[in-house]
């Protein structure tokens, strides 16, 4: 049993640390263990293998994304043909006086959607995201939309408000946006329904 041999083993493990670069907060402390001077060539070969694989993954990602785009369009065209398609969107502007919990939509007296928002989704709406809450096929002609918003109003009180709108469906696709915004003067939320052709 030689003292030197054991000590050298320990030193070898530890000195690798001295030969491994750090990169601020992005460098994990244990990174040191995988590197050593002698392993440089092996590292380079491994890096090349990783890169070749990574390029395959990149190429697959692109193709799968393109496929998803085509499928997304096919699904939409198949389920909601342009001449009967109506999409309903929810958006928020500012949102100081209202914290959205859920939205219920009724079209021509029939309930078509009842959507409960997660905190993540509500947060996304506050940042400027727009949520497609419902898609429908509607005949050309006049229709009535009723939207019931529930959530927390000023002073964290439960708040439930409805908004009604009559809209006319033409031949092309139609977008209807339900926007929740702040009426600063009254310190109340405001619910506005807008149409996009």
């Amino acid at each position: 049993m030689t003292r030197k041999l054991l000590m050298n083993l320990a030193a070898g493990l530890s000195l690798a640390i001295a030969a491994t670069a750090v990169a601020g907060e992005s460098a994990p402390p244990d990174a040191a263990q995988s590197a050593s001077l002698a392993a440089d060539a092996e590292d380079a070969a491994s890096r090349d293998r990783f890169r070749a694989l990574d390029q395959d993954v990149q190429s697959l990602k692109k193709e799968v994304l393109d496929l998803n785009r085509d499928l997304f369009l096919l699904e939409e065209e198949l389920l909601f043909p342009a001449n009967s398609q109506v999409a309903f969107f929810i958006s928020m502007d500012v949102g100081e006086y209202f914290k959205l919990d859920s939205v219920r939509l009724t079209i021509d007296g029939k309930e078509v959607a009842n959507y409960l928002y997660t905190d993540r989704e509500a947060g996304s709406l506050l940042q400027g995201g727009v949520h497609r809450v419902h898609m429908a096929n509607l005949k050309a002609g006049d229709h009535e939309l009723v939207a019931i918003f529930t959530g927390q109003g000023p002073h964290s009180r439960e708040y439930r408000r409805g908004a009604t709108m009559n809209f006319s469906k033409g031949i092309g696709a139609k977008y209807v946006e339900l926007e929740i915004s702040d009426r600063v003067r009254k310190q109340q939320p405001e619910f506005v329904i807008k149409e996009w052709e």
């Binding site: 320990a10 670069a21 750090v22 990169a23 601020g24 990783f50 994304l65 096919l74 958006s91 996304s124």
Partner: protein
Amino acid sequence: MITRRGIVVCIVVSLASLAPGVSTLADTDTSGPTVIADPRYGEVLFYFYQEDHFPAIVRLLAAQAQGGLEQHAAQAELLKGGLYLSYGHHLEAAEIFERLLAGNVNPEIRDRTWFFLAKIWRQRGYLDKAQRALDSIEGELPEHIGREATMLRAQLLIDGGRYDAAIALLEDWQGETEWSRYAQFNLGVALVRSGRTDEAKKIHEKLGGIDPWNEELTSLRDKANLALGYALLQSGQPREAKLPLQRVRLEGPFSNKALLGVGWADAELDRYRRALVPWMELRERDLLDPAVQESMLAIPYALAQLDSISQAADHYLNAVEAFYEESNRIDRTISDIESGRFFDDFVADDRLDSAGWYWRMEAVPEGPQARYLFHLLATHEFQEGLKNYRDLKYLWSNLERWQQSVEVYSNMLETRRLAFDARLPKAQEALARADIDGMVQRKLEFDALLDDIEQRGDWLALADEHEFEMWGEITSLEKIPALSAGIPVAEEVRDKIKLLKGVLQWELEREFKERVWRVRRELRETGEALVETQRARRQVDDSMAIQPREFRAFDDRVVGLEPRIEALKMRVEDTMAAQRVFLQAIAVGELRAQQRRLDTYTVQARFALAAIYDQAATVAEAAVE
């Protein structure tokens, strides 16, 4: 519709999210609110803000393919680049950025983007691309990013073996900031690698004495002290080595090695009792750590030096047994890894579509085997490999879902076609019965008739049924022979009839113009209805003609998609297998190295044990003699 953040922030946030320490980039927004002119763009943002990058990209690509987002064209491209980057689709992202950055883009944003691309590429091992990206930075980066960029340059030089250039770059680093500490450490690294160990020692000495103000710096200090301590031990200065080694925290990633080193420093000074203190502490720790393994040999070594031969022999035997069991466990782990299921478990509990580029496997899954690979998680290569594996798994499940949906669409199309074929003859029959041309002809005849009535002033022609009957009765009364008699009663009746006739005629003449107008209006409405009917008819005709073509077009798309999905699925499976093999090779390589170390220790233990037995036997023989 107003968003509260501009697109500049969108992209910068997405870039900043790759580097947690630089999220303050978002504060630089000066673009003001962006008016969203297309809800589909807002929908992309809805997923983007939730960090659901994949659905966000798909919606963005779909909206662009539909010719939408024209009012957000430039923003959408930038956002797409950012989304690709967040999703780890860095080559495509770079292509977009390179295109956009060539244009009239704010130089500050352009330089920042190059910097982040460089950072990502180095992480992924694209060192040449990382270097090119850094070289593309033209202006001055903000201070906090600038420091990181310089560090990145130095790391790339070290990666490329250009140690002298790295040393020159790092030696110039000024200040006493956190980054300057990292720079000093990396300077030490470059010095060690270029063989200038004495200079490296000085750097480590300086770093080993810093007063850290956060966990990262404390860890850096530990590393420096450890490196310095062992360097001193190796150069025969055990007394000097103790101080830096004792500065390493007792609980931390480097504590085991430090404890081992402190023990060796004492052993080198022949203070074996003192050496036993840190080594005994190590014995209680996880045997996975090489320092703990080594302590199992160091303890009996010290005991032997203290003439506790019997105890030493027991400890050696324990060590041999422990190493054997550990080696068996490693064997089982290797078989488990080679079975292929291992890495699926690694990413099994992950929400695959959420985190993107900056996803990191922070904790190993439950199970005895995974703990062997814990420290592998800290390496870029293994983490990036796992990321790719995880992404491939998501792609596979995505394709699997679509495969099922496409089958449903195929059935749906078939059902629709059958329904259409069933309804078509009935519709054609009903349309054939509806003589729209005849109706139009009749309407035109009515127009002509009305014109004639108006021209002739034929007020009787517009009398209603009741009036017409009255008129008929009156004129028939006129013809009664008795009324021709020259008697006063007959004359009186004749006068009454004449009066009635006159009143009726007067009324009909009075209302004639209005009636002509009314009939003409009705005819016009009829004409409009007929035009609408003709239009609807044409639509129905078109539909009947187009529908089969549309069915065929949908069919073609669906039919074309099925093999496309299948082919992609196979390629994803192949790449997953290759990625798994890559990860397995790293993991098994690591485990084999651990086993080799255990084998070496076992040989050492057996050798020492043999020496002890030999010594004991020699002593016994001498006693007998």
